[in-house]
């Protein structure tokens, strides 16, 4: 369990500036990655690998399952048991794999379109079951792989290739949705706050049950360009740095000051029986009746 004070103290600082060696986790010959200059996915990947490393989990026991989209290319670069599946379906493959072998720690890498539009039904049902999956939603507010269409998290009024006159669709809040559907660990981080993100991913990974992390990681190539941010860093500062406040900071702010800001940090945490353990108990009780 982490306290807000610990959250503010990222793991990396404890390691006294010994550079982290990513190479055991990166598959030889698979870089460079496909992500655009200015995209935060590489930053998120670093936080992710440091968090998995901190957990002490053997690479043989980690499975990474993704759907379709920019973020879903992540499994191709990392040396785990990796499965790159269909658009929207990562969670369902991950569910089958986790139930087939509950010893595996299963990470789901997905995006806002993948998880919340085409895969929305799977997303809420995974949260409902509380199966031990760590679902990382790389939220870039758009479909980056297919060049910038409106996604379920596109802010109203923003421009996209399918919302050329400004988006009129109300967006989903990933975290509110996850909490309502029953996820037992819900948090938000950003690529900008990468040290805080590492801590959040570590917590999510260690949490037993369905954990969802909404990672704000805007797309400079399409979302940034169409919405006239001066540069990738300008967009990152506006959306990720200034557009969010930590849960702790938020306590001191008025509702007016919080208007339009996304909360960062652990937004919900609860204890509920984990699905694969419950299934295991069912098996044990039935087999003892024989």
């Amino acid at each position: 369990m982490s306290t807000p004070a610990e959250e503010a103290k990222p793991l990396a600082k404890k390691k006294k500036k010994v550079p982290f060696d990513y190479s055991p986790y990166i598959r030889g010959g698979k870089l460079p990655h496909i992500w655009c200059p200015g995209c935060g996915h590489g930053i998120v990947l670093k936080s992710l690998l440091r968090a998995v490393h901190a957990s002490g989990t053997s690479q043989n026991d980690v499975a990474m399952v993704s759907g379709i989209g920019c973020s879903s290319r992540t499994p191709g670069y990392v040396d785990f048991n990796t499965l790159h599946t269909l658009h929207g379906r990562a969670i369902t493959y991950a569910t089958g794999l986790k139930m087939a072998n509950p010893k595996l720690k299963v990470l789901v890498i997905t995006g806002d379109g993948d998880a919340l539009a085409i895969g929305g039904n799977h997303f809420i049902h995974a949260c409902r079951r509380n199966l031990d999956l760590t679902i990382l939603v790389y939220n870039n507010f758009t479909y980056g792989m297919t060049s910038g269409q409106t996604s379920p998290t596109t802010t109203q009024g923003k421009i996209s290739t399918t919302g050329r006159h400004g988006n009129i669709d109300p967006p989903f809040d990933t975290c509110t949705l996850a909490k309502a559907a029953g996820a037992t660990y819900v948090a938000r981080g950003t690529a900008y706050h990468f040290q805080e993100l590492e801590k959040i991913i570590f917590d999510a990974f260690m949490h037993k049950g369905t954990s969802v992390v909404d990672i704000i990681d805007a797309c400079p190539t399409y979302y940034g360009k169409y919405n006239k941010y001066a540069s990738a860093t300008d967009m990152m500062e506006q959306l990720e740095k200034d557009g969010t406040v930590s849960v702790k900071q938020a306590e001191k702010l008025t509702p007016e000051e919080l208007e339009g800001k996304l909360l960062r940090g652990v937004l919900h945490r609860s204890e509920r029986p984990e699905y694969s353990e419950e299934y295991g108990k069912l098996v044990t009780s039935l087999q003892s009746k024989k």
Binding site: R27, K30, Q59, N60, D61, A63, V65, P75, G76, D79, F80, N81, T82, L83, H84, T85, L86, R89, T92, Y93, A94, T95, G96, L97, K98, M99, A100, N101, K103, L104, N121, H122, H125, Y279, L282, V283, L286, Q287, K290
Partner: protein
């Protein structure tokens, strides 16, 4: 060895029993008439035997979950019917592309759309082959009795494991809900095949390595072989490629691994075919009508015979070719508006007449319909001709009656 007990059971029950016999330890599904009993029985049995049962939120999730579970090392299956089978098509293509063994049961009901949920049909025979996009291998088995569902489900698992590909078992609602006696064999009596696992060092493992043949060994996630699987075209190491030469090779091999082994996958029953002048090509419940018709026609001296495929895909070209070579007419009765008849016509290449008997009213093809088609066909001018189904059967079916 214990005596094998004869049990009176439903087709869907025989399917579940066949799956358990074959070593299936994972079922994910979504309820749908008329296949739900397979799921219900799995939900009861699998937790008791240490297997996994999970009810998913829809059929898309179901086929994806069994694919994930198969990559986790378990023999996995789902069961569905028309609407659910339609939803599964993308996941089916993924399992073909990623070469993951899974078994899909489709208990065919009336369609399109919701159709008549409790009404039988045979109208998914083409979808089973062509439903998912892109060129891909298809192995589809089509049993015609309750006992055959048991054995063909075992065979489906064996073929899936051998060829690292999805295998579909298709049967109509009539066979699925019908009850007949089945004698369940003891463990070991029927061959059960398990996928080939890699023996190389994990660092050497390539999940699509074809240096030793078209089908590479398949490791399970969590065994130390950390490999990559994707629905993108990929090279031997499993990683995506846009090399057109590799894509061509991979596409060709995917189809070839089944095509080159079709003699091993084909399975046909021949009934009175040796001297037949009229051949009937029928599958599933329609083949049972055809058998009845053949016996009645033989009593009338008409040389009719039946060719019944138990493997509908790959299509039994050589058996149909041999039939077309020696009969004057091939009759193809189907509970659809003409699907497999076109395959028969393709193979017959005009060497004999090919005539279909089709219906989609959810009633089975009546034996009398087949008899009438053949009698109306000319070879026996003296044979009775009857205008309707019901009096036709009464006229032709002569049986010794029991007392009472």
């Amino acid at each position: 060895m214990a005596t094998n007990k004869k049990r009176f059971m439903q087709g869907n029950e025989a399917c579940a029993e066949g799956a358990f016999y074959a070593g299936c330890t994972f079922f994910a599904g979504y309820p749908i008439t008329p296949s739900t009993e397979v799921m219900e029985i799995s939900s009861s049995r699998l937790p008791k035997t240490g297997g996994v049962f999970i009810q998913m939120e829809d059929e898309i999730a179901s086929i994806c979950a069994i694919t994930g579970a198969s990559l986790g090392g378990r023999k996995s299956m789902t069961a569905t019917s028309g609407p659910g089978f339609s939803l599964m098509q993308e996941g089916l293509g993924f399992a073909c592309m990623a070469e993951v063994p899974i078994v899909i049961i489709n208990v065919m009901r009336s369609g399109p759309s919701t159709g008549f949920p409790t009404g039988p049909s045979q109208s998914d025979v083409m979808q089973a082959k062509w439903g998912t996009h892109g060129d891909h291998p298809a192995i589809v088995l089509i049993p015609a009795s309750v006992e055959e569902i048991f054995y063909e489900t075992i065979r489906a698992f064996n073929l899936a494991e051998i060829y690292r590909t999805p295998v579909i078992v298709l049967y109509d609602e009539i066979i699925g809900h019908m009850r007949e006696a089945v004698t369940i064999p003891q463990p070991g009596e029927v061959e059960v095949v398990n996928r080939v696992k890699p023996t190389c060092a994990p660092s050497e493992y390539k999940p699509y390595d074809t240096t030793l043949g078209d089908i590479a060994p398949l490791a399970a996630y969590g065994e130390g072989y950390r490999f990559h699987v994707t629905g993108l075209y990929h090279g031997a190491d499993g990683f995506p490629t846009n090399n057109t030469k590799l894509i061509e090779e991979a596409g060709q091999r995917l189809v070839r691994k089944v095509e080159d082994n079709k003699e091993r996958i084909w399975k046909n029953e021949e009934y009175f075919l040796d001297d037949a002048e009229i051949g009937i090509f029928a599958y599933g419940v329609s083949a049972r009508s055809a058998k009845f018709a053949v016996r009645e026609l033989r009593k009338k001296g008409i040389k009719a015979g039946l060719l019944r495929p138990l493997t509908i895909w790959p299509f039994p070209d050589s058996a149909v070719d041999a039939l077309a070579e020696r009969v004057k007419t091939i009759i193809v009765p189907e509970m659809n508006l003409g699907q497999i008849v076109h395959e028969v016509e393709r193979v017959a290449r005009g060497r004999c007449e090919v005539k279909g008997i089709f219906r989609v009213d959810t009633e089975p093809i009546k034996p009398a319909q087949i008899i009438e088609k053949i009698l109306g066909n000319g070879p026996m001018p003296s044979a009775p001709v009857s205008p309707t189904d019901s009096n036709m059967s009464e006229m032709l079916i002569e049986r010794d009656m029991l007392d009472g």
